[in-house]
Symmetry: C2
Subunit: 356 residues, 2 copies
């Protein structure tokens, strides 16, 4: 059965990095992957053409795809759009919500070849391998009511942080299953000493724990989690948390590696349909200069093959190819270091293809 | 005029560390500080005696005090209290709210003598000196409605993240004034690409910037701020943010120094009345063992002298004394390192007093 892959290059460096990832996908087709690849617009580049960040056509194609590869969205060009619903970010948030991509997997892995890139001491981060499981379609990102309105003669801004038991349960299951496949340690992050919504969160996690007796569940307050990530990140294996805390902690965890240009992510729904994207943003400052690191996007293709297309062998092959180019000393600007070979976006793509 | 200082030892290591700080306060009395010192119960230790974490008597004394010194609250002993309003943390939150202590100053300073303690590379953190200004009596900590209730056959937890223009403005002023006294750089942290309440936050900060033309204001999304704190923390001078983001970022920033046992904090209201406490928690695991580091609490006394009691010279004297004991190589367990002298809580207090 032919699988459908939708590529959404997006903004900034998005087009450059997805172009390299598409070359890798095409190589996979030659290696036996039965898939057709389509492209569409999202984010600021969609706004420029259609006046909205998530055109119907893109959403339709996304619904029909088995997997989506997204570059990145946003940039200063669109920061002045007054209507928040038209901003590039809403293209991304709309895709997550409309496709029900509630399960966001954000690995923070330190590549041994890039250990120097970290701002942390080598002994603190060597061998780091954390999986952050972030709830992606609920919480304060989507809670109602929300807005800015006049109250007692002044304006007031408000958002609602809300989770139902079933929303917590389904992300909890993703995390427990993930922990089961890894080191059987799951840390749930909340602020249950202050926020009622996270008291419920903690309760549901505790209840699920009974169904996963082989997984050791712990709880941590979000402020402490932020501290512990800096102090001793290797204490974590799988971390599960809500949308907002996950946004913050996954970025902090990614940065511990010092090479955010290397980190892929997956966002899955209940049918295994997924959207795959690099953890980094659209980096408008270096867009169009053939400088960006395409590896996070290429590794996102590997995640896609593993989680949505059931092609674990191809996934491993891509990961091995990336390992090889790093071993060979190739580095884009973001991960450059002395004695290594500086390469461009396209050259890095070439090297991965050759290694494949 | 005799100033009133209320000491609230709280739970865990609270009594031990405040005891040393009280000795320092008493030494200040001998050096000319005209103040009377009272004590009262808060947190779990108040709950054990009075059945509530913030007894009326404590609140009354707090209202009448010019400054409050708090140790720490909370511990596993009280984690099972079902009624959230009776938990130790509510003693702390109640004091903040009732006294209107909206302006929370959390410095993250790396002591050169303790540079090794950081998990970050020396070149990344040497000379680090950030001031996080956190709004402390609003935001999602206190927003209504909140709770857990049944909706469509399942339970739903919810909290409200809310700020009014005037709340944002007053914390903004604290931060701009602080920036003016420091390096004239202020970074406001929000999530204005997703949350309406922080769109208003950003707008008000921009408006205030016009009144402080000498201060350079920048904006950063909270996920990026968490990353930048790990990547290159010295890019920050003063950071201003809301209650929840401030909770997370100030703990991450504190941990960059590797010696959270050294960091004081101040929480001020509009009349300059303040509550002073160490950044670290109640550390129940080492409570009662004469192991805890009293320096953050002693440095909180210095902040108290500076911000609430208008005794900057005494403040400097305490800070210099702390610098001296570090220079002399004295270290409690949390900041211990090879070749330095391990001391107990009381011995550290002795040494600071001697240096004073
Ligand atoms: C662009 C933004 C809306 C998004 C988010 O906050 O989720 C991004 O930071 C991310 O983490 O994917
Ligand atoms: C104990 C807790 C309620 C408190 C908070 O979240 O504000 C603490 O973490 C702090 O930062 O002072």
């Amino acid at each position: 059965m032919t699988r459908r892959i939708l590529v959404l290059p997006g903004d900034g460096i998005g087009p450059e990095i997805t172009a390299q990832a598409v070359r890798v996908l095409e190589a996979c087709q030659k290696l036996g992957l039965d898939a057709e690849i389509e492209q569409s617009l999202v984010g600021g580049s969609a706004y420029d053409v259609h006046g909205v960040p998530l055109p119907d056509e893109t959403l339709d194609k996304a619904r029909n795809a088995d997997a989506i590869l997204l570059g990145a969205v946003g940039g200063p060009k669109w920061d002045r759009i007054e209507d928040l619903s038209k901003r590039p970010e809403k293209g991304l948030l709309g895709l997550r919500k409309e496709l029900g991509l509630f399960g966001n997997l954000r690995p923070a892995i330190l590549y041994p070849q890039l250990a120097d890139a970290s701002s942390l001491k080598p002994e603190i981060v060597s061998g780091l391998d954390i999986m952050i499981v972030r709830e992606l379609t609920g919480g304060i990102y989507f809670g109602q009511p929300r807005g800015i309105e006049e109250r007692d003669g002044q304006r007031v801004g408000f958002n609602t942080y809300v989770y139902s038991e079933s929303e917590i349960e389904r992300i909890g299951r993703v995390a427990f299953e993930m922990a089961r496949k890894r080191n059987k340690k799951l840390c749930s992050v909340d602020k249950a000493n202050v926020l009622e919504v996270t008291i419920l969160w903690r309760e549901v996690m505790d209840r699920l724990a009974a169904e996963y007796p082989d997984v050791e569940l712990s709880h941590m307050y979000v402020d402490n989690a932020a501290m512990q990530l800096v102090r001793a990140p290797k204490q974590f294996d799988v971390v599960v948390t809500g949308n907002m805390f996950g946004d913050i902690l996954s970025d902090a965890a990614a940065m511990l590696t010092g090479s955010i240009g290397m980190l892929p992510s997956a966002s899955l729904n209940e049918r295994g349909q997924g959207m795959y994207e690099p953890c980094h943003g659209s980096a408008p400052d270096i867009a169009g200069q053939n400088l960006a690191n395409p590896l996070a996007t290429i590794l996102s293709v590997a995640m896609m093959l593993r989680y949505s297309l059931n092609e674990p062998q191809l996934a491993e092959r891509i990961e091995a190819a990336v390992g090889k180019v790093l071993d060979d000393g190739l580095r884009t600007a973001d991960i450059a270091s002395e004695g290594k070979r500086r390469v461009s976006t396209v050259e890095m793509g070439d090297a991965v293809l050759a290694a494949l």
